[in-house]
Amino acid sequence: MVPAVIEYREISKSFGGIRVLDGIDLTINDGEVTYIIGTSGVGKSVLVKHAVGLLKPDSGRILIDGDDVTDYSEAQWRPVRTRYVLVFQHSTLFDSMTLRENVALPLRKHGGLSRHESYRKARDFLEMVQMADKGDKMPADVGPPERKRVSIARALTLAPECAILDEPTTGLDIIASANVDRMIDHLARVLNKTVIVVSHDLRSIFGVADRIIFLYKGRVRLDGPPEAFRSSDDPVVKQFIRGEPTGPMEM
């Protein structure tokens, strides 16, 4: 049996009286590429943010590598965040820093490297995502695909065990999306990382995923391999796959 790295037990979360997650029970396994999918606002990003302590559940427990982290303080979360990294939906580079400084920041803050040493290592990571020649540019000076690559490089600086990517292909053209897919594949198959991807991109999902978790109305509607998702008889899943504007799915 594949060991679990993240366990969600009966997780519920509401915002302003609206219940976004409604008793989610879920296990993320080691070494798998897991895609979390669903319509906008269904709570996909909310779910993954719980795994790195950026959100706290209203009820339920979260276990990371078997440890209950639900009530962890910020200080306790720090070592967890070196092993479990999150790449945000909008890349989220720091506007006031160059691309190199952005990548170097976790090396200095988490890794304790000097400024000089962190810059040297940051260059290696920028090279990995073919951005080494643009290290001195500011985030505003490069396009969304390049920002996305730099944010992935920044997340990988600490050699995490698990990378969580929140909508990595949103807003990218088809070529840039394919590059991101290749990077996800590389992370999982070559670097042996556990990868969790929040996505809407069906092309990317069917090309890379080992497992798909479909969220609907704050609960897990379907959990299985891509084949199970594709051949599902569930009318809600079918409507999602076909992208039909009308059907049983309530928006």
Binding site: V85, F88, T92, K109
Partner: protein
């Protein structure tokens, strides 16, 4: 809605005290680099210089002109106009008007910057890189505002006194050496002016940062946070002025 607004208003002082405490803790634990501090001080000075020059300059001109016209009706000569004006500028108008200008220019800037960082998930990204958002964002702005509050007040008082001196000489034939008299200004006036500078310098960045940290909902939320920061900081300056001036009078 109304009760929600009232409970928020009740919570605000507690929240501000909490943020002030966390800022002090972060400041002692890891003071910002001199380069970052100088950068913030330059930003604050640069943003406010023209604004303060124009405002305090015209305040000096108008106050001395109007004051002298009224004084002429009851006093045989205007030899004490300068001494009185300098006293009022040092103990009251200098710090308070400068603080109102800094609250408008710098407070709004801090709230907008932090608000934008919150809604674009940069604050969460800071946590992911083991960086305390308060240490990284608030502390340099806090120290810089406290220091620049003193610097800009001294500058503002000088501008207002020089402007007043010019109008007193040209319109009322008051000799500049007579105008530039500290005869009515004692140590206690200087002390109350300095206390006000310090109190405003502490209040403005904390109130603005709180508004920025509580921004939500995209660009509209950033706009609302900026407005809230300006209103709250102006309100705080007036209240602090009343408390300090009243307290000093009673002592």
């Amino acid at each position: 809605m109304v009760s929600g607004g009232i409970s928020q208003a009740r919570l605000l002082p507690l929240r501000l005290l909490g943020l002030l405490g966390e800022t002090m803790r972060a400041m002692i634990k890891r003071p910002p680099s001199l380069a970052r501090l100088l950068d913030q001080m330059h930003n604050i000075g640069n943003r406010s210089l023209v604004f303060i020059s124009v405002t305090l300059g015209f305040l000096g001109l108008i106050s001395v002109y109007q004051g002298s016209i009224q004084a002429q009706k009851v006093l045989p000569d205007l030899s004490m106009v300068g001494a009185t004006f300098i006293n009022v500028m040092i103990s009251e108008f200098g710090p308070t008007i400068t603080a109102l200008m800094i609250a408008t220019r710098v407070g709004s800037g801090i709230a907008a910057e932090l608000g934008a960082m919150v809604v674009t998930e940069q604050v969460e990204a800071l946590k992911m890189t083991n960086t305390d958002p308060i240490e990284f964002v608030v502390v340099p702005r806090f120290i810089a505002t406290v220091i620049m509050m003193f610097v800009m007040t001294v500058y503002g008082v000088l501008v207002a006194v020089l402007a007043g001196m010019v109008i007193a000489d040209l319109r009322f034939q008051v000799n500049p050496s007579t105008f530039l008299s500290l005869g009515m200004t004692g140590w206690s006036d200087l002390c109350v002016g300095l206390i006000k500078c310090f109190a405003y310098g502490v209040a403005i960045p904390i109130i603005a940062a709180d508004a920025g940290f509580h921004a939500s909902g995209g660009s509209e939320g950033v706009g609302q946070a900026t407005t809230r920061a300006v209103v709250n900081t102006l309100f705080a300056v007036i209240i602090l002025d009343f408390i300090i001036a009243g307290g000093w009078y009673l002592l």
